[in-house]
Subunit: 121 residues, 2 copies
Amino acid sequence: MAVSLYQLVVDAHDLPALARFWCQVLDWQVLFEDEHEIVIGADARALPGICFVPVGERKTVKNRLHIDLSPDDREAEVERILGLGASLAEVGQGEDVTWTVLADPEGNEFCVLRPKKTLLD
Amino acid sequence: MAVSLYQLVVDAHDLPALARFWCQVLDWQVLFEDEHEIVIGADARALPGICFVPVGERKTVKNRLHIDLSPDDREAEVERILGLGASLAEVGQGEDVTWTVLADPEGNEFCVLRPKKTLLD
C-alpha cells in the first residue's frame, strides 16, 4: 500500500492570473483548466503539480505551508519574479538570512533560497 | 534563468512527531534534523521534499495550501493514514466527492484522491 505526493492545492480568487504567475515563475504550463480548477505542471507525468481552486475567503494570516524555490541565481531570479507580479514579504525573517521571502499576487508567501541541488545542500 | 520547486515548508509545533507522521504516510525518511528544521524526502535528490519549521502561532483557519495524495487504494490508504494519527476533516466538501479530506496531527488538511498516475488522470 502506498500514496504519492500528487499535487499542491492553492486556494485562489483569480485562478487564471495566479496559474499564469506560477507558470511563469516555474516555466511550467497549464495542463487542465475548467471553472473548478486549473492544474499546472512541468508536464503531465512530472509530479507533483500545482492545482488552483476557487474559494470565497480572503487570506487573513500567514500561510502555514509555503513553497521554497531553488534558483540558479538568487538575485536575478528574485528580480525576475518581482517583475512577474510578486512582492517582497516580511514574516519576521530578519536580515541575515540566505533566502528572500516573497508573496505571490494573492499574498501567498514563498521563499527563494540560495542555489541548491539536493535536499542536503 | 530558472527556479525549481525545492521543498514544501510546514509550520509546526512538534517537529519530530509531524515529520515522523509524514514519513510514515509517504514512506519517506528524515534527511536532516536540527532544532531549526527537519527535512524529509524520498531521498536527497528527489525534489521536492518537505521541511518542518517551528512556529509559535497555533493554526486558526483552514490552510490556503494543502497536499493532495494519490493512493494505490483509496479506502485502504485512508484507513492506514487514520491509524498513523490523522483525523477526518470537514471543509464543506460534501458527500459526493471522489476524495477523502483528512487532517494531520497538527490539523493541516490534506486529501487522498482516487488513484491517479498523471496530472491529466
